[in-house]
Amino acid sequence: MTTTRLRGPHAGPWGPIPAAAFLALLSGLVGIGLPFVITAPTAMTLMTQGTINAILATSVGYLIRQSGFVSFGQASFFGLGAYVTALLIKSAALPFAVAVLLGVLLPTLFGFLISLVIVRVSGVAFSMLTLAVAQVFYEIVVKWRDLAGGDDGLSVTLPATFIGIPSSVFQTPTTMFAICWITLTLILFLMYCLSRSRFGMLCSAIRDNEERARFIGYGTLLPRAVIFAISSASGAIGGVLFCLYNGFVSPDILHWTMSGAALVMAIVGGAEFVVGPALGALVYLGVKDALGNITEHWQAIVGIALIIVTVGWPTGIAGLFNTLWKRVRAARPA
């Protein structure tokens, strides 16, 4: 008889939350403090872009972790968030803050509605549907030049202030890094809390065994749609931050290669863990930057690394850290 006592992902629903809150606070302070330590603008720019990508990768990883769905089209929500914000700011029809809010809410609502259809299928069919949706938006943006500027994209001049704060904070690497980092931290913390809640437990159960979940009395469509909407929201937040930071959006952010990169980041980092995809994004962009200086074929090296990780190290970087941590704890005298 097995009697090993393990701490499961839902061990004591609210038990580890204070520790996670402390870590989140610490992470927030790091985000504020880091720009004082790293002063090189290039490094700060790279880290800011990395953090925005980490938010996108986190949205992909969350979907995998909580529902088992692999999205090949997560860039659609990132791109929608960015384009909605850009278009609303450009039109000047609404206050800046409302434009930013709608940049998150509209893709989230769209994600929720479309998920009511697409989460009914699973596996490759689901992945292909997400890819198709993303490509539809890509084509719309490319072809509808009058609205979205086509291949040339859209330049956006931010209004002077955002709820009383100078908009320049969004386009200065040091301050924007802190904003993006704190946003990422909050997203990770909220996702962690949610995964520890009864709702998170139900989603894990549905991911494990959808039929059994129905036979213990739960509807399975709505929880999966909510997970998809949360994932869409996270992607859209990344897109809004991208738009604010760069003051420019182009169809590239809706292209399937963007979705593919986010998926690679999530898998390399370890989608099984809340922080894994974010870790993967930072490593991915660091490696891309380092290798990009050496060879233009850096993608081939990333591809080989992905094969190695997928086959030999399926839990990703976060999984490796977790294994090492367990070994350290096991080696510690009782």
């Binding site: 499961g8 159960a205 213990i216």
Partner: protein, 234 residues
């Protein structure tokens, strides 16, 4: 006459041109443990699927007590007091034993009691994936039992267990459902289990109801012997 807890009327299920279940009528009185046996392909699991709402494209009516649940979803049937287990172990591998029972106990049912009754209390913090096969079968049963359903449909709960494990499970099951007043319809290939715990037995053959009676009546029925052995009783 005792109250009927589960009733199926004219249950028919077709797979293309093949009729797996042909107008089966079934009534199980409250508190009874009813065995459902028959040769391979008799329609036993199909009947359980139709009763539980798992099957699509079937005809007939299903009642739990006086409630017609024929058009109810699986979830609604569960809320009406109809629960089931599966032929193949159906649990949530990434959840601990306790957490999946807490999840299944939607109306605040006593998780501790089920853990204790099914001898799962010592492993309540263990992931289901880490359990032995026998423990997983008991967890599967616990998921169906939690909340004390009115009617429990069991599809080969002893499949894959050793003879000793099967008999232990059978005794455990009999005591539990009798104490809790649950009505049970159980499909089981292990005749020792069926004859030891069932009040009455229904025999299906080729999708039709063949015989219904006590263990002794079924054991000696020429129709049953013929269906199982392909010849008349000597």
């Amino acid at each position: 006459m005792s109250q009927i807890a589960l009733r199926g009327v004219g249950l028919t299920r077709r797979y293309g041109g093949f009729t797996a279940l042909r107008g089966v009528d079934l009534s199980v009185p409250a508190g009874e443990i009813r065995g459902l046996i028959g040769p391979n392909g008799a329609g036993k699991s199909t009947l359980i699927d139709v009763l539980s709402g798992r099957a699509a494209h079937w005809s007939g009516q299903v009642f739990v007590g006086d409630t017609d649940v024929s058009r109810h979803s699986v979830q609604k049937r569960r809320r009406s007091g109809l629960a089931r287990s599966f032929q193949r172990t159906s649990i949530f591998p990434s959840l601990t034993v306790r957490h999946q029972l807490e999840l299944a106990a939607q109306s605040g049912a006593d998780v501790d009691e089920v853990l204790l009754q099914l001898n799962l209390d010592a492993m309540q913090q263990v992931y289901a994936a880490e359990l032995s096969y026998g423990d997983q079968r008991r967890l599967d049963l616990a998921l169906a039992l939690i909340g004390r359903p009115r009617v429990l449909l069991l599809d080969e709960p002893a499949a894959g267990l050793t003879v000793q494990e099967s008999l232990t499970l059978a005794r455990l099951l009999r005591d539990l459902v009798k104490n809790w007043g649950i009505t049970v319809l159980i499909v089981e290939h292990d005749m020792e289990v069926v004859f030891s715990i069932c009040d009455r037995i229904t025999v299906l053959n080729l999708g039709e109801l063949l015989v219904e009676g006590t263990a002794d009546e079924v054991r000696t029925s020429p129709k049953v012997i013929s269906a199982y052995l392909g010849r008349s009783a000597a």
